[in-house]
Symmetry: C2
Subunit: 123 residues, 2 copies
């Protein structure tokens, strides 16, 4: 287990378990948001989906993990970082993290999801 993850647990007063550490390990290595199935495939530990979702809920509460819904009725998870946008391609279903300048928007924006056709899939 990496020091970074150990520190996250301590800082947020979250009890250490192998399940939790395994989830965060996967998210740490990922370069874009992943859904449950994708994380499951990459995890070194087998756990029930109830365990997975309860732990993710805990991470969310603590602000460690950020989640959003794509357009496939699935939650996508990533380690929290500065607010940035996600581009979801309707054709290849690839999710890309991007920086956008929104100009001024009333209210506090916490998540931005763009949907459309990515440049690879564009005619």
């Amino acid at each position: 287990m990496s020091e970074q993850i150990k520190t996250l647990f301590e800082e947020h007063d979250i009890k250490f378990t192998t399940a939790r550490s395994s989830i965060l390990e996967v998210l740490k290595e990922a370069h874009h948001p992943l859904n449950y199935e994708q994380i499951k495939e990459k995890m070194s530990v087998v756990m029930d989906k109830a365990t997975f979702y309860r732990n993710i809920a805990k991470f969310e509460e603590s602000g460690i993990v950020h989640k959003f819904e794509a357009d496939d009725r699935k939650w996508y998870f990533e380690l929290s970082s500065t607010t940035h946008a996600h581009f979801i391609c309707e054709h290849c279903h690839q999710i890309t993290c991007i920086d956008v300048d929104l100009g001024k928007v009333e209210g506090e924006v916490k998540s931005i999801v763009l949907k459309g056709t990515c440049k690879e899939c564009h005619v």
Copy 2:
């Protein structure tokens, strides 16, 4: 039935039915996107949800209706218009249509969903 809706059916070669006209009537009056339950409440005609979703799918194909997922695992529908963003407040769950200037984004953007805290709910 309004002329506007009659014209939509003709232009898109969609068979007229009372169910279809009733759905579009509701969307035409709405000032923001609505989900199935919300549309059902407002509709003058009672129809099965299978009928509702099949008709919505037809409208989508024709480009009459645009749909997106909020963060509540529900689809939201509105009549198609120029691409604009939707702000979803995590506290009051209000969905507002807004115009944003994204700057330049690679690929073709078809839907923009912002999530956060609206100015009314903001401390």
